[in-house]
C-alpha cells in the first residue's frame, strides 16, 4: 500500500509535464499559422522602424549567358520595390558573370517614384559592370512614368526577350 501511494504523485507529475508539452507544441503550431514576416522599410531607408509586408509583386529570375532576366508582375511602389531590390541584388552579388539586365515589365500595372528609384539603382549596378539594361513589354502608363523620369535616355526598350537579348549583344 505504501509503494502505491508514493508512485501516484510521480505519475501525476509526469502526466502534467506531458500535457504541458503537448499544449506547448499545439500553441506553437497555432501561432505559426498566423505568423507574418515583416520587412523593415526603415532598414531599407537606413532608419529603424516602420514595418511593412512585401506584397502585390511576383518576381521570377532566369539567366541567359551573361544576362539576368527579371520578370515582374504586380505593382511597384515603396512596399514592393524593396523585395525586387533584395532579390535582384542577391542574384547579382552571387554571380559576377552577370553583366546585363532585362526587366520584363509586361505584367506591371503600376509604378511610382519608389519603383523608378529601384530600377535606377539596379541600372547603376549594371553600368558599374559595364553592362546594359533593357526593359521589355512596358505598358503605356508604366512607359509614361519611365519617360517622365528620364529612364528612356539611359535604358533601352524592346518588345520581346529575343529582341532585348539581340540589343544587348554579349554572350548568350
Amino acid at each position: 500500500m505504501m509503494e502505491e501511494r508514493s508512485e501516484a504523485p510521480l505519475f501525476s507529475v509526469l502526466l502534467s509535464i506531458l500535457g504541458a508539452g503537448i499544449y506547448y507544441i499545439f500553441a506553437k503550431i497555432s501561432l505559426k499559422a498566423f505568423e507574418v514576416s515583416p520587412i523593415s522599410v526603415g532598414d531599407a531607408m537606413g532608419v529603424p522602424g516602420c514595418y511593412m509586408e512585401g506584397q502585390r509583386v511576383e518576381i521570377a529570375t532566369k539567366r541567359v549567358g551573361e544576362t539576368l532576366i527579371v520578370v515582374l508582375e504586380g505593382e511597384l511602389d515603396l512596399a514592393t520595390a524593396q523585395r525586387v531590390r533584395d532579390t535582384v541584388d542577391s542574384v547579382l552579388a552571387d554571380d559576377a558573370r552577370l553583366h546585363h539586365l532585362i526587366w520584363d515589365l509586361g505584367q506591371v500595372g503600376f509604378i511610382d517614384s519608389s519603383g523608378l528609384g529601384m530600377l535606377l539603382g539596379r541600372y547603376k549596378k549594371i553600368r558599374a559592370r559595364k553592362g546594359n539594361v533593357v526593359a521589355i513589354g512596358a505598358l503605356e502608363p508604366v512607359r509614361r512614368m519611365l519617360k517622365m523620369a528620364g529612364m528612356e535616355r539611359i535604358m533601352q526598350f524592346a518588345d520581346t526577350e529575343e529582341q532585348a537579348l539581340a540589343r544587348i549583344g554579349g554572350k548568350h
Binding site: 522599410v41 531607408m45 516602420c50 514592393t80 503600376f110 517614384s113 535606377l120 512614368m145 517622365m148
Partner: protein, 146 residues
C-alpha cells in the same frame, strides 16, 4: 463656393503596405466623377507619392498616423494627405525636381509627379508638427467646360 457631394476620411499607420490600399481606395472614390482611366491612374500616382512621402520623410521610419481626407464636389476631387511627423523646413525646395533628402535611390520626383498630374497642389508644413499636402483635380471634360 462648390457644394460638397461626398467625403471620406481614412486613417492608417505609416506602414508602406497601406500605400497601395490608399491609392486604390481613392481612385475608386474618385470614379464617382467623370474621370478617364488615365486620369484615375494619375490620381493613383499622386496619392501613392503623397502617402510615400509621409511614410519616408514625415515619420522617417517611425510609425505614426496618416490621414487622407477626400472631398468630392460636382467638378473636382480634393485630397488632403496629412501626417504628424517631422515636417519640412523648406517647402519650396521640396517641390523642386530632383530634390531629395535621401539621395541613395530616391529620385526626388515624387512631388514632381504630384504637380504634373494634379491641377492644384499646396503644402503646409511646420517643423516638428507635420505636413499637409492638399491636391485638387477636375475631370478633363469639366476643365474644358469651365
Amino acid at each position: 463656393m462648390e457644394t460638397v457631394t461626398n467625403r471620406v476620411l481614412m486613417q492608417f499607420p505609416s506602414n508602406a503596405a497601406n500605400i497601395g490600399f490608399a491609392r486604390t481606395a481613392i481612385a475608386v472614390f474618385a470614379s464617382q466623377l467623370d474621370f478617364t482611366l488615365d486620369e484615375l491612374d494619375e490620381i493613383k500616382i499622386a496619392v501613392s507619392e503623397a502617402v510615400s512621402n509621409a511614410v519616408i520623410h514625415g515619420y522617417q521610419g517611425c510609425v505614426g498616423q496618416i490621414s487622407v481626407m477626400c472631398t468630392l464636389t460636382e467638378n473636382y476631387i480634393e485630397i488632403c494627405v496629412q501626417d504628424g511627423g517631422k515636417g519640412m523646413a523648406d517647402v519650396e525646395k521640396a517641390l523642386e525636381p530632383a530634390f531629395t533628402t535621401q539621395p541613395d535611390e530616391r529620385m526626388g520626383l515624387g512631388l514632381v509627379f504630384v504637380k504634373e498630374y494634379m491641377d492644384e497642389v499646396s503644402i503646409d508644413s511646420a517643423i516638428g508638427k507635420g505636413t499637409s499636402l492638399i491636391m485638387r483635380k477636375s475631370p478633363v471634360e469639366a476643365r474644358v467646360g469651365s
